[in-house]
């Protein structure tokens, strides 16, 4: 397996200006997901991932670091449901950190919002909070809807999906 191609490595320290408002947009099918840039650890190509031996694992791959630490990678579709390895066609992987744990999420495209482009997320209305969801807000960007999330919410949601999958398998 070739060495991971590191396209970009985000720094955890604050960039000049308002780093808390800097966003990375991920395109997953028709869904546009926004993550705070300060929570991004690494962006890599899917070709640099290691494929797990077992096909029944929820991860579609993992990135093994120099120190041997594996970073698991997951794939979601536009409805935020887990995708299997065979149906995955996405090329990019975004690694985010939450509570010391680094997870990866595949996406079709990704781009960073310009420094002067600001998202003004609105909280999710209460009537929509019936199902578990990583989405914490909605914003308008280029005449389209962007779903806003965070590393902690995304990690919690992935954990919930894996638990549900485990319960179904039993």
């Amino acid at each position: 397996m070739s060495a991971p191609v590191e396209m970009m490595q985000a720094r955890s320290r604050a960039a000049p200006g308002n780093a808390a408002d800097s966003w990375l947009l991920l395109a997953i099918d028709a869904l546009r997901l926004a993550l705070p840039q300060r929570e991004i650890r690494l962006i890599a190509l899917v070709g640099s991932l290691t494929t797990p031996v077992h096909h029944d694992t929820p991860e579609i791959g993992m990135l093994v670091r120099e120190d041997g630490t594996p970073w698991p990678v997951y794939a979601l579709d536009g409805a935020l449901a887990l995708e299997g390895r065979d149906s995955n066609t996405r090329r990019h992987c975004v690694f985010f950190e939450s509570g010391g744990l680094v997870l990866g999420l595949l996406c079709d495209r990704l781009w960073s919002l310009a420094a002067d482009a600001r998202l003004l997320p609105e909280p999710v209305p209460g009537c929509l909070r019936v199902r578990r969801s990583p989405i914490t807000g909605f914003a308008r960007h280029r005449d389209g809807l962007v779903a806003v999330t965070g590393a902690a919410d995304l990690a919690s949601y992935l954990d919930f999906l894996m638990e549900s999958r485990h319960d179904r398998d039993e």
Binding site: G78, P125, V130
Partner: protein
Amino acid sequence: MTATSRAWVMDTGDGRRVAAGARHVVEYLLAPETVTVPRLPAHCAGLLYWRERYIPIIDFAPLSGARADPRRRAVVLAYQHAPGEPLRYGALLVSAPPVETWVSDDMAATLPESPAALRHVARACFRLDDRAVPILDTRRLFAEPLPAALLPGEDKRDEPSTPVVDDRPVGPLPENEPPVAADADHAPEPTAPGPDVVASAADPATSGSQEPDNLSYCVVIPFATRPTHPAPEPVAATEHSVLSGYSSLPDGIPEQASPPAGVSGLAIAAGEGDAPSTHSVAAPRSSATLRSFSWLHELERRQNPAVSFRRRRLFAVLAALVVIAVAWLVLSNFPKSRPMPVARQPGPVAAGPSSVPAAPTQPPR
């Protein structure tokens, strides 16, 4: 005299009607463009981008197992988390324009048992045309998640792990959006009467606690500005919750002593002092009442420059086609309509003295 409350009855398209207090009904949309987002509950059709914000759209059809009508419209409703807080909005899918009605305590009825989800978001019920019409609690409808047990096909394990409290600040409000008065809106309940009336200067006790006592409530229904009408005047005040329903209308609303001829409308003017007797809302039946949003929406549609331009262009095209058709008919029938002149058969000319010139004529130089 029985106190009456003004309400709007909405057809949700599955043979069911619901109602909302007049001060909660903001706008009627003909073609709402819904955006789907992941992980929506069954009764939420998606989000609607309205006035630079995303608001949820509720669809009651799945609650009764009915299929959603793809040609549906929407009514935007307002609510508050607590009295005095900024207005928030949500939309409800409907099949027809809302219809205004006046509700009194003697119309109170028992809430139907099913569907349970609708019962959960209703605050009261009244009987209209021998049918029970639940009155929506808009805050509970839009601000609180419905229990998964009340929704068909929902998995209780899929509920959020911790109760989510929406305590984050809402985005910046538009500059012209006023603070809302205390919610003194009460629908008639089976046991406790709670009239929802627009307080007039003569009845300050029923007004909200944050409204001046001497404020009379007049909102002028807008209509297309015509040369014969007087110069338009802006709505004087929008602090009252009734007026907030008209804040979406364009500026320059002409003030009239009575609605335009041939058009019904509720003429209420905003200002201090006593309300004019002709505009008294304490006796609503004596004044013309806005019966449906169809007229109001038609008015807005006419004032929409894009729509006006399209209409003018359409009329121009139609006029050109008519002219072309008439011209073709005339030209195609013209030769047939005028009989051909009968050519005179040249007959023998009788030679006579008169036919022979006396002297040869000379051509002119």
